[in-house]
Symmetry: D2
Subunit: 115 residues, 4 copies
C-alpha cells in the first residue's frame, strides 16, 4: 500500500476505535485543519523571513514545526479519506497540471500569480 493510503488507513482505524467518526464530517475536519494551520503559522509569525530556515534548523524548533505539519497532514488525510479522495494521486495530477500551466521556459524567476 502506498504511504499516504497507509496513513489514511491508520487514521481511519484510530478514529473507528474511539468512535470519533461521528465528529469527523467534512466541515468539522476543515475547521480542525484550520486550527492546526494556525498553530503552524504562530511558530513563524514574528521570525524575520530571512532567518526562518536557520532558526528552524535547531532540533527543538524543527521538531515543533514537524509536529504542527504532521497535525495538518493527519487532518488533511482524514478529510480526503472521508470524501473518498485519493490524495496522493490528486497531488501528482496537480503537479502534472502545474507543469503544463507554468512552462519553465516562460516562468523562470517569476512568482506565479492567480489568474
Amino acid at each position: 500500500m502506498a504511504e499516504i493510503e497507509e496513513l489514511a488507513a491508520a487514521v481511519r482505524e484510530f478514529s473507528r476505535e474511539r468512535d470519533w467518526e461521528q465528529f469527523q464530517d467534512p466541515k468539522s475536519l476543515v475547521l480542525a485543519l484550520v486550527g492546526e494551520v494556525g498553530e503552524l503559522a504562530e511558530l513563524f509569525q514574528w521570525v524575520p523571513a530571512a532567518d526562518a530556515v536557520a532558526r528552524f534548523a535547531v532540533p527543538d524548533r524543527q521538531a515543533r514545526a514537524a509536529e504542527e505539519m504532521a497535525d495538518v497532514l493527519v487532518y488533511l488525510v482524514r478529510l480526503a479519506d472521508v470524501l473518498g479522495v485519493d490524495l496522493g494521486a490528486a497531488a501528482r495530477a496537480k503537479l502534472a497540471d502545474s507543469h503544463r500551466r507554468f512552462p519553465a521556459a516562460t516562468h523562470r524567476g517569476v512568482a506565479p500569480h492567480k489568474p
Copy 2:
C-alpha cells in the same frame, strides 16, 4: 523512495527548474498554504454539515475538493522539505503519540479537547 519523499523531490525539482526557490521561504509557504486552505474552506462553507459527504460524492465536486486538498498537500510537502523535515515520519510519530494520549478505552465517543 516513499511516496511523500517522492512528492517532495518532484516539487523541489519543479521549483528549481523555475528558479522559484527564492520565493519559497517558510513564511511565504505558510501563507500560500493558508490561501489553499481558504479555497478548501470556501467549498464547504454554506453546505449543511449533514449533506457534505453526499454532495461531494458527485464527481465534479469531488474532483474540485481533491484539487484543493492537493494544493494544500503540495505546499505542506514543500514547506517540510525546505525545513528538512521528514513529513511522513512526523505524521506516523504523531499518530503513535495520539494512541498514547487518547486510549480508546477512556476516549470512546468523546471528542478530544485541547488541554
Copy 3:
C-alpha cells in the same frame, strides 16, 4: 473619532510603546491573524453545527469566543493601519457592493456562490 479608527490608534500606540512595530510587517501580521483564526476554529471544530449557538450562549464559552474574535479583530485593525487602509470605510463600501451584486429579490434563500 470613529470606533475602528480609535481601536487602530490604541493598537498603534501599544505597539509603539513596546517597539513592536519592527515585527509587524504585513506578512507577519497576516500569519498572526491566521494563528488567531485557528484558535477560533478550534473552539467550534467538534461542536454539532446545530448546537453551536446554544453552546456558546453559556457565559464562559461566550467569553472565550469573544476573546478569540477580539484577537482576530486586533490583528486585522493593525494590518489595515500598517497598510494605510480605512477598515470601517472599506467594510461599508463592501456591503454597499454586496447590495448591488446580490439583489434581495433574486437571491432570497439562495446561498451565494463565488463566480
Copy 4:
C-alpha cells in the same frame, strides 16, 4: 450607535432580507472567514517581506487588500452578532489585558511568545 454595532446591524439586515440567516451558523461563518483570510494571504504570499508596505501603497493593490480585509471584518462582525458578542467591547478588553500582560518596561523590542 457605535461603528461596529452599526456594521453588525447592517449585515444582519442584509442577511435577513435575503433569508440567508439559515446558512449563517457559527461553523459556516468561521469557514467563510477562513476563505477570506485565505484570499488576504494570497495577496502577500510571494511579496518580499520588506517590500510589502511599499507595494501595497499603490492605489490598486491597496484597494484590493482593503477589500479582502473588509470581507474578513464583515464575517467576523456577523459571527459576533450571531453569538451575541459585543466585538468592540471585547477588543478593548483584550487590549487592556495585553497592557497588563506585556508591560512596556519589560517587553520593549521583544516579540511576544505564546506561553
